[in-house]
C-alpha cells in the first residue's frame, strides 16, 4: 500500500489513541487547525479536545506539563511544532526529562514522546530551517529517533510510546508529502538498529532522515559510474548503532557521512570519529563529510540549496574517495 509520510504518522497517532486510554496528543495547533503540517487533521473531531489538546504558545510550559503528565501516569505525545521552537523547551527536555530517572536514583522515569519537525529546504530563512538533531543526540537520558521511511513513521511511534524513557522523534518537513510503500502491518519497529537501505561494496554512504533519499539517489548515479555504494540509514541517533555502520565501513573501506546539520560538532563528526576508533585500519581513504554549510540559512532559493547537502555533493565526495585521481 502506498501512503504518504504524513498519513503514516497520522495513522500511528490514531492507532495509539485507540489502543491506550493514557495516550493523548498535545501541541500547538494540533486540534482544530489540524496540525501545522496537517498530521493530526481530523483527530480532534474523533477523539475530543482532551486527547487532542491544543496548547498556548508556551513551549517550556507545555513540554514540562507533558513531562509531569507522563510522571503522573499518562502517555503524552507532545508535538513541538518545529525543532526551532524546541529551544524554548530545551531546559525541560534536558534538565527535567533526561535527568529525572538518574537524579532520583532510578525512581521516576518519564515515558514521554516528543515529536518535532526539522530541516530546511522551503525558503523559510534562518529561524525556521534548523536541523539540531545532534543537540538532542548529545544528551544521555534521551532516545533520539529519525524516521525516514513510511514504515518507520508509522512503527517508531508505537515503540516510542512503549518505551519507559523520553523519546524525541524528528520528522524532516521535506518528508511529509513523500510517498512510500508500507511493507509492515503497523506493528512496533525496532528503534535502535541502523538499516542497510542499499547494499554495496565500494563505499558506505552513512546518513539519517531526509538524506536517506539524497544518498539513495546518489548511489544510483554512482552505479552508473561504476561505483557500488552501500547506503546505511542510522534511524536512531541515540543510542547509535555503531556496529552496523562500522561493519559496513570494514567491508567497503570508504565512508561519506551525509548530515543535514552543520559540520562542526555535528553527528557527522561523531560518526567519523567512531569509524576512526573502530575501523581505522580498514579504511582505504579518508572519511568525507557532506553537511550543511556553516551559515544561518538564507532565504533565497539558490543560496539555500547551495547550503544544503545535494545529490551531486554526495556523488562528488564519493568519487573523490573511490577514484581520487580521476
Amino acid at each position: 500500500m502506498t501512503i504518504t509520510y504524513r498519513e503514516a504518522l497520522r495513522t500511528a497517532i490514531e492507532e495509539a489513541l485507540r489502543r491506550d486510554d493514557r495516550v493523548f496528543l498535545m501541541g500547538e495547533d494540533v486540534g482544530y487547525y489540524g496540525g501545522t503540517f496537517a498530521v493530526s487533521k481530523g483527530l480532534v473531531e474523533e477523539f475530543g479536545e482532551d486527547r487532542i489538546r491544543d496548547v498556548p504558545l508556551s513551549e517550556s510550559g507545555f513540554v514540562g506539563a507533558g513531562i509531569g503528565a507522563a510522571m503522573g501516569g499518562m502517555r503524552p505525545i507532545i508535538e513541538v511544532m518545529t525543532v526551532n521552537f524546541s529551544l524554548l523547551a530545551l531546559d525541560q527536555i534536558l534538565n527535567t526529562a533526561a535527568t529525572m530517572l538518574h537524579m532520583s536514583g532510578g525512581q521516576f522515569n518519564v515515558p514521554v514522546v516528543i515529536r518535532m519537525a526539522t530541516g530546511a529546504g522551503r525558503q523559510l530563512g534562518a529561524q525556521h530551517s534548523l536541523s539540531l538533531e545532534n543537540w538532542y543526540a548529545h544528551i544521555p537520558g534521551l532516545k533520539v529517533v529519525v524516521p525516514a521511511t513510511v514504515d518507520d513513521a508509522r512503527g517508531m511511534l508505537w515503540t516510542a510510546l512503549e518505551d519507559p524513557d523520553p523519546v524525541v522523534l524528528f520528522e524532516h518537513a521535506g518528508l511529509y508529502n513523500r510517498e512510500g510503500e508500507l511493507t509492515l502491518d503497523g506493528e512496533p519497529v525496532d528503534l535502535h538498529r541502523a538499516a542497510i537501505r542499499r547494499a554495496g561494496t565500494d563505499i558506505s554512504l552513512i546518513t539519517y532522515g531526509f538524506h536517506l533519499f539524497t544518498c539513495l539517489d546518489a548511489a544510483e548515479e554512482l552505479a552508473q559510474r561504476g561505483v557500488d555504494a552501500e547506503v546505511v540509514e542510522l534511524r536512531s541517533l541515540r543510542p547509535l548503532d555503531t556496529e552496523t555502520f562500522i561493519d559496513s565501513v570494514r567491508k567497503t573501506g570508504r565512508a561519506v557521512v551525509v548530515d543535514d546539520g552543520w559540520k562542526t560538532g555535528g553527528i557527522g563528526a561523531e560518526i567519523g570519529m567512531q569509524i576512526v576508533e573502530e575501523a581505522f585500519f580498514h579504511l582505504d581513504a579518508p572519511i568525507r563529510r557532506v553537511c550543511r554549510a556553516e551559515v544561518p540559512m538564507p532565504y533565497a532559493a539558490h543560496l539555500e540549496q547551495a547550503a544544503l547537502p545535494q545529490v551531486d555533493d554526495v556523488v562528488e565526495a564519493a568519487l573523490h574517495l573511490v577514484k581520487p585521481h580521476v
Binding site: 514540562g64 506539563a65 503528565a69 527535567t96 536514583g105 525512581q107
Partner: protein
C-alpha cells in the same frame, strides 16, 4: 479573586499545637545539623537551608493526603521530611550514600521519593512549575481526586515558566496548589529590585486563579489557608495560589556572604521566628509547658542524631554502577 491576608485563626487544641511545633522543630534541628556537617565537610555541593521558613512546608503539607503530590525547589529538605520521608534517607542522601533517598545521585537539591509522592528537588528556578501542572493534569484526566502542590520562591515569579504554568493551570483548571515562598530575595536580589509588581499573588490572580497572601511565619495561618485551598481544589474548583510572606534566616547557600541585606533586618525577622511564634501562642494559652517543649525538642534532636548515625554508617554505591538509571532497566534486571 484576591483576599486580604488571613488574620489569626481559630483556637487549636493541645495535641495539634504540639504536632505542628514538633514538625517545625524536626526541620529546624535537621538543618542546623546539616550546617554543622557542612562545616565538617561531611556534606558537600550546594546546601540551601530553609531555617526561618518552616511554617510554610509544615502548614501546607499537613493539609495533604498521602497520595497527594509535592514538588519542591533546591531548598526542599523540610518539604521532604514533612511529606513523610525519613530523616535517615535525607541525611544519607546528603552524605552521597547509596542508602540516600536518591541513592546519592541527587544530593541536597534533588531529594526524591516515589513512595511518598515527593517529586523533587528541582534546582532550575521555575522549572518545577510545568511538571506541577502536568502531574495535576494527569490526575484530572484519570479522574483521581488528588492534589499536586508546587513550592517555588519569589525568584521564579520572574521566569517565563511561571507565567506559562499559571496560564496552563487556569486554562485547564487542574487540581494544583501553587505555593509561593516569598522570602523577599531572589538569591541576593531584593524583591523590589526584581519585581515591577512585588505583590506576587496579583500575578496569579491576573490569570484567574484564586489567590491570596498569607503570613508565612505563622503556621496556624498557613495551615488554615492551605486546608481551605486544598479542600476547594479537591472539590474540583481548579487551581489555587497562595503567596506566603516568609524569610530565610540563614544565607542563600553556604557560599553566600550576605552582602545584600542588613544584619538588623535579619534580626528583626527572627523576632517573628515561626517556632517562637507558635511556642508563645501555646504558652499564652496554657497549651504547652516548658517541659513539654523540651520533650518535643529532644525528640527532634534525637531523630536527627539517629539520622546522622545512619549516614555515618552508610555505604557508597559501587563505581561500576555509575551508568545505571540513565535509562530504565528491564524489569528482569532490577
Amino acid at each position: 479573586m484576591t483576599e486580604k491576608p488571613q488574620a489569626r485563626v481559630e483556637n487549636i487544641d493541645r495535641d495539634r499545637g504540639h504536632y505542628l511545633l514538633h514538625q517545625m522543630l524536626r526541620i529546624r534541628r535537621l538543618e542546623e545539623r546539616c550546617a554543622d556537617l557542612y562545616a565538617q565537610t561531611k556534606i558537600r555541593g550546594f546546601l540551601h537551608l530553609y531555617i526561618g521558613e518552616e511554617a510554610v512546608a509544615v502548614g501546607v503539607i499537613d493539609a495533604l493526603r498521602d497520595d497527594d503530590a509535592v514538588l519542591g525547589t533546591y531548598r526542599e529538605h523540610g518539604h521532604a521530611l514533612m511529606k513523610g520521608m525519613s530523616a535517615e534517607s535525607i541525611m544519607a542522601e546528603m552524605y552521597g550514600n547509596v542508602e540516600g533517598c536518591s541513592m546519592g545521585r541527587g544530593g541536597s537539591m534533588h531529594l526524591f521519593s516515589k513512595e511518598h509522592r515527593f517529586f523533587g528537588g528541582h534546582a532550575i528556578v521555575g522549572a518545577g512549575l510545568p511538571p506541577t501542572v502536568g502531574l495535576a493534569l494527569a490526575d484530572k484526566m484519570l479522574g483521581r481526586d488528588r492534589v499536586t502542590v508546587g513550592f517555588f520562591g519569589d525568584g521564579s515569579v520572574a521566569e517565563g515558566e511561571f507565567h506559562e504554568s499559571m496560564n496552563l493551570a487556569a486554562l485547564w483548571q487542574v487540581p494544583a496548589l501553587f505555593c509561593c515562598e516569598n522570602n523577599l530575595y531572589a538569591m541576593g536580589t531584593a524583591l523590589d529590585r526584581h519585581q515591577s509588581q512585588p505583590d506576587l499573588h496579583l500575578k496569579a490572580a491576573s490569570y484567574g486563579i484564586p489567590s491570596i497572601q498569607v503570613d508565612g511565619m505563622d503556621v496556624l495561618a498557613v495551615s488554615h489557608a492551605a486546608r481551605r485551598a486544598v479542600a476547594a481544589i479537591r472539590d474540583g474548583s481548579g487551581p489555587q495560589f497562595i503567596e506566603f510572606l516568609t524569610y530565610r534566616f540563614r544565607a542563600h547557600s553556604m557560599f553566600d556572604p550576605e552582602l545584600y541585606r542588613d544584619k538588623a533586618e535579619v534580626e528583626k525577622w527572627k523576632e517573628r521566628d515561626p517556632i517562637k511564634n507558635l511556642t508563645t501562642y501555646l504558652r499564652e494559652r496554657d497549651l504547652l509547658t516548658e517541659q513539654e517543649y523540651d520533650e518535643l525538642d529532644q525528640s527532634a534532636r534525637q531523630e536527627v542524631e539517629r539520622a546522622v548515625e545512619f549516614a555515618e554508617k552508610g555505604s557508597l554505591e559501587p563505581v561500576e554502577d555509575l551508568l545505571r538509571f540513565v535509562y530504565s532497566e528491564p524489569e528482569e534486571d532490577r
